[in-house]
């Protein structure tokens, strides 16, 4: 078998393809995941606040990629687990590394679509001009940013029932987005909640995205360390939830 065929028949590629197609063909996932952040950006950014089109590109794209990861893992894993799919995979000789890596790759594919659509809209209709290195850095930060939120989603998906998962993840996601300054800058939020933002991971991902795109020179190292700590915490939660799942 040549390298191409070996790749095509590898479990990692097959689970990536299955995860991507499964999400793409599920309108309840793919439509809100793609249309909400892009639609919000067009309305609140390009139409209502064109002067902030570049700022909002970073924050609304952050909003988009965080949602992509939380819902694909949180709701997706809870559903697949309860419907018996994961049991069948466990009874088969499935490498779960391929299942999880495949889902992460699919999430990153969706995140890439969101960022590219928004970047195109920002450049064409918002007059946003970045250097090519800044465009690349923005895309790279947002794609990499799906990792910690995917791990948090995995932990939630392993713990929650499929009925509870969508509700609980929405209850987490929307306030997180608001308080992290993804819709309105943190400085415009009521004074009493402004202090919360530094504790919220999306705030740091948006901060990093603003920094690398040359939009707002923030404390990038602080953002990076906060995201690293959040990644470790989410990985720990996911590992605990995994042990519980394997025991069941």
């Amino acid at each position: 078998m040549n390298a191409g065929a070996r790749f095509e028949h590898s479990a990692h590629w097959q689970f990536t393809r299955a995860a991507f197609l499964g999400l793409w063909r599920m309108p309840a996932y793919s439509l809100p995941t793609l249309l909400f952040p892009v639609g919000f950006y067009v309305f609140f950014g390009l139409l209502m606040n064109p002067a902030f089109a570049q700022w909002m590109l970073a924050t609304f794209a952050t909003f988009g990629v965080v949602g992509t990861a939380l819902f694909a893992f949180g709701v997706g894993v809870a559903m697949e687990r309860s419907q018996g799919w994961w049991l069948l995979l466990r009874a088969a000789p499935t490498p779960f590394s391929a299942v999880l890596a495949g889902k992460l790759a699919a999430v990153m594919g969706f995140a890439l679509m969101i960022v590219l659509i928004m970047a195109w809209l920002a450049a064409v209709f918002g007059g946003v001009r970045l250097e090519s290195g800044q465009w690349l850095a923005l895309v790279a930060v947002l794609i990499a940013g799906t990792l910690p939120f995917s791990l948090l989603g995995l932990a939630l998906g392993l713990w929650l029932s499929p009925n509870a998962a969508p509700a609980i993840i929405n209850v987490l996601y929307l306030p997180l987005a608001l308080l992290s300054g993804l819709w309105i800058p943190v400085s415009q939020l009521p004074a009493m909640v402004q202090g919360l933002a530094v504790w919220l991971p999306p705030y740091h991902l948006a901060g990093l995205a603003l920094h690398v795109s040359g939009t707002h020179a923030g404390p990038w190292l602080q953002h990076l360390l906060a995201l690293a700590a959040f990644t470790v915490l989410s990985a720990g939660l996911a590992a605990l939830a995994w042990r519980r799942f394997k025991g069941a």
């Binding site: 697949e80 419907q83 799919w85 466990r90 088969a92 499935t94």
Partner: protein, 299 residues
Amino acid sequence: MNHPAIEASGLSYRYGTHSALQGVDLACAPGRLLALLGPNGAGKTTLVKLLLGVFSPQQGKVRVAGGDPRQRATRTGIGTMLQISGVPENLSVAELADLFASLYPDPLPRMAALGLAEVEDLAKRRFGQLSGGQRQRVLLALALIGQPGVLVLDEPGSGLDPASRRALGELIRAQRERATTVLLCTHDLEEAARLADEVVILDRGRVIASGTPSELTRRLPERRVRCRTNLNTERLAALPGCCQVSRDGDVAEILVRDVNPFLQALLAADPLMSDLGVAGASLEDAFLTLTHPPLKEAA
């Protein structure tokens, strides 16, 4: 190499205080079809999860396809159908086949696997668009794609109409010709008797009977006799050919193997016996006989 392809010894498993399996022994030689028969709640699904390495035995040992099924390498030699598959409904049959093929070292080509389950024509269809019978056949193809030496099938015919069920049964039996060992869980006695080389009957976590289908059916009732009699349950149970007795006041219902000697003995023992009726015994009657020995059921 005559090691059993499927072997369990002294297997026990509890969920909290509920004991699901108690000291179960099971062995199936390579290339044979073993039916695991039992009512719902008998412990079949727990046993299947132990045989597939999803659960770890709390007591006893399990060996399947020459190894410990908790190891992934062992499971490359096992194909499986579970009661609930949860297969993603928006993937096509061909995509699912490719996905499962990627799990095994030496898989069949996609169309060959679909052919074994007679579903080549469904390759382009999404799983969610298929009928119940089509779904079960596709799941069988997924179980076969890795060329497993052992197949573990948990109620593959559940929810199907009798014709589809029978057709699926024939496909499963045909796998023996490929030297595949099959463990078939079912609560359908007739299906077990028709397909299996050996039958093991599980009830409330214990093996209560095992043997070839003909050995077992020799112990099964053929007629249901109903009459008014003064004989008590013990006396009735002691009559020749009696398999099972139940009483409602002075009306007794008796399941019997061979009706003529039983009736002669009954009349001799109770000349006042009246309101006699004789009907064919159903499969449920047979099952009742196996899962409830006659005297324990005395009312």
